[in-house]
Every structure is written in structure tokens, then in C-alpha cells.
Amino acid sequence: MEGFIIALFVCLILALISKYLSIPAIPFYIIAGVILGKTGLGIVHADEISRFFSDMGLLFLLFFMGLELKLDRIIANPQRVLTGGLIGLSVDMGIGFTAAYLLGFTLMESFIVGAAFYITSTAIIITSLIENRKLMSREAETIIWVTVFEDIVLIFILAVLSASDQNLLLFFVKIALALVFMYAVSFYGKEFLVSILERDDEIPILFTFAAVLTTAAFAIFFGIPQTLMVIALGAAFATTDPDAFEQHARPFRDVFMVMFFVFFGVTIDFTSGVDWFIIAVICTLAVVSKLISGMIIGVVIHGSTLSGLEIWANMISRGEFSIALAVLYGSPVIATTIAAMVIFTSIVGAFTAKYSTWMRKCIISHSRRKALMYHPHNGR
């Protein structure tokens, strides 16, 4: 318990520092966990309490993702979502999976590494677009839609990974029934739900918390993955009053997510059995692969490599979803690799996102100078 409180205070200080420097806090939380836990000082250990908080963090992260998942908007705008999304999926997932397989992971492990390698951090990317005041750029919209696509792919990945050891037909029937039930509740109980959310006492926040936990508990009872069910709950509730649910779920998500990151770091063991060669290759490729996919997306959608560079600069960071995959399905070796990749890419990504405008200017002026040198009369 003492360790837990120490971790909490370290995180509070780190959060203040990261806000002050306006860089993402996620890598710091993980590093704090690594330093306090197994690898470093060994002060903080994972126990029942921390595991509970980490689980809550994951559930609320996914519930929130469900709330944001407005399928009608994606259906209304399929071209933009699909083009960028499919390029990213095939390039990044392809490179990540192939690299992992060639480095000696099994097929299943390579799939998990590839998925974690592919999926970027919506939290980091959106915050940095706002903080760096890049919302207006045409690339920003493309980037946002690509992250939406990734969320949908994540749902499929979670379904595939959790279906692998079950009777498939029964599994999908159970999921379909649960979905029908949740959408029916949201549809027929909409007025009731909205009336609960509009109250200004503690009922809305209590209701939100209870709804997420009850869903998770029922999912375990019926033998269906709780991750998928809380996403579905979020998506179903999004048809009532998503803003109110976001408002009431946000405090839980924010606190529990921090615990989720720290205790992920705590359980990571960098001291024994770590292949630094694998980590170095995966980290480097994680940046390079996004450059390739970013460039292709930039050229295909905006017809410009500079746009591709901008997309790359903002989409390097991996984060919460990669860690979620590591926690749910990863062996210790996978978890270590993904931890290192998340720390590395989110720090590199923070810098590239901050200085991308400057990089762009340098490239433009450089190519102008070049053009003037070779064709002095065409320039300007």
C-alpha cells in the first residue's frame, strides 16, 4: 500500500512537469514505474490493489474509446477514413509483424507485437495537435480519421485474440446477444438514461461507474471478453448523451489510467532476459515504418510529400492501446519490447510533433536554394 501511494505522488509531480513542458506524460509514468519497480529501486510492487486499479484504467480507457466511436460519422465519411486507415494498417502492421517474426517471435506473438507496433496513441496525438496548434492544417483532419480507423481495427484485433481459444460460433452468438441487449437498453431507455445524467447530485457519476463495472462483471460471467463489452457499452451509450457520459467517466479514466501506466512499468523487468538488439530494431522500425506509411498517405490524400512528413511527425507516438495489448496478451518478453517501444516512440514523437513546422520550413528553403542553384532563372 505504501508503494502505491509513493507511485501516486511521483505521478502527480511528473504530471505537473509534463504539463509545464507541454509534452505527453505517458512515457514518464511508465519510466516512473520502471524506476520504482522490479527493474529499478524495487520500492513498489504490483499487488491486488494495484491490479484492481490497472484493470479499472483499462476498462475506462476502452469505455471512453467506445463513446468516441460514432459509427454514423464514419459511414458518412468513408473515403477519408478508409484510404488513410488502410494504408496505415497494411504498411505498419505489415512491417511490425514481419520484423517480429524475423526476430524469432512465434506467429501469434508476432501478431500481438505487430498490432502494438501499428496502433498509435490517440491520447498523445490529439493532445499534441491541440497543444501545438495544428488543428487547422489539412493533415490534422486526416490524422484524426486515421486514429479513428485504428480504434476500429483494435476492436477486431481484440475480438480475434480473445476468440482464439473458444468455440467460435457460441462466442459470436454471445457477443451479438450482448450487443443487441446494450443497444436495446440505450434505445428504449434513452429518456431514462438522459434523465439520470441530467441530475446534479452524485447519481450520474455513480451510475457511469456502476454501468462500466457491471458490464465487465457480466462479461466475465458469460465468458465473453470484458474489453470488447465495455467498448460496446460506450458505443451504445454514445447514442444517448455521449458528452455527459464523457464528463462523468473522465475522472475515473484519468486517475486509473495513470495507475495503469505506472504499474505496467513496475512489472516490466529490464534486468534479465532482455534482448536489446530486438528492442533497438523494433524501436527504429517503429519510427521508420510510420515515415513510410505517412509519406504514402500524404501523397495519396494530399498529393504532397511535405504533408506526408507532417503526418509522420504527428503519428509516431504509440501509447495506451499498445500497452493494453501487452498487458492483455503479451508474454514478459513482448511486454518489455512494447514498453521500450512506447517510451521511445512517444518521446521521439513529442519532439517531431513540436518541431514539424520548423522541419518543413528547412526542407522548403533547402529545396528552393537547390532549385536556384541549378535553374537560377526559374527560381522564385
Partner: protein, 164 residues
Amino acid sequence: MSAMALRSVNLPGVGTKYEVETDKGDTIAVFFTKTGSIQMYTLQKGCQTPSAAEMSPVEARRLGNILTGAIIEADQESVEIAFSALADLRITIHTFFIPRSVIGKTIENLQVRAKTGATIIAVCRHDKNIINPPPSFAFEEGDAALVIGESDQIKKFEREILVE
């Protein structure tokens, strides 16, 4: 009103975006982000990089008042609302501090509606708001009145009621 292009998009995770392209080809984009802040970007025609300003909701409302053509003085401010669908109906709401000459008089005594056509819709007294004060309402020292009407009626109110 000219047909300027207004586009609004709801961006998942970010918030709502409004984009206006002016007749001269400049672009202005406003984002109401989920963090509560409001970002405004302006992009001059032919330029590559926009410039941005981040505002709190209060700051954004002030800016909005300025843009609608309202006069903003040190403490007294006014808002003009134009309803383009209703034959360009323009309504002005103005705040006034009650001068000494008016203290003790009621709205009925002052004959506000008959003399000016404007209406006092609210009075702010000691940080409390009295909405729709009755004709028998008497002013006290320190009151501020919120007056609604056409801009001519507001001017008349300022000339005839406040200075006596």
C-alpha cells in the same frame, strides 16, 4: 448576407470545428476543443502556415461581441444581434450604470417605454440579477440596467432617461 462558405465538422476526440472562407479568400477556423479551450486560426490567402490564438470561453465571448460590432467600453458593454433570416432584424442589448438623477425613481415614473421604445429587461443589484423588473421597480444606487431595443432606441434611452 453574402454566401460565405461555412463548414462545421465534429472531429472525434477533438471537438467541433467551424471553418469560414471569406470572399477575399482568407480562411478562419474555430475549434471548440473538449478541453474547454477555444482555438482560432487565421490563414491568409496564399499562405501556408496559419497563425493561432487560444482563448478561454469568456475571452471568446468578448471577441464574439467585438466581431458583432458591439461597442465595448471599460465597464459598459453592448451586444448587437443580427437575425439575417428576419429581414436583417438587428437588436442591441446595452448595459448602463444608473446615474444619480435616476435613483429613487421607478420604471413607470421614468416612462422608459413611452419615451424611448427601449425596454429594461434586467437590473443587476449587488451581484444579483433581477430579470424583467416590474413597472413599480425603483432604482437604487449602484444598480446597472440591461436595456434591449434597436440601436436608435438605445441612444434615445441614453440621452433622455439617463441625463435629466
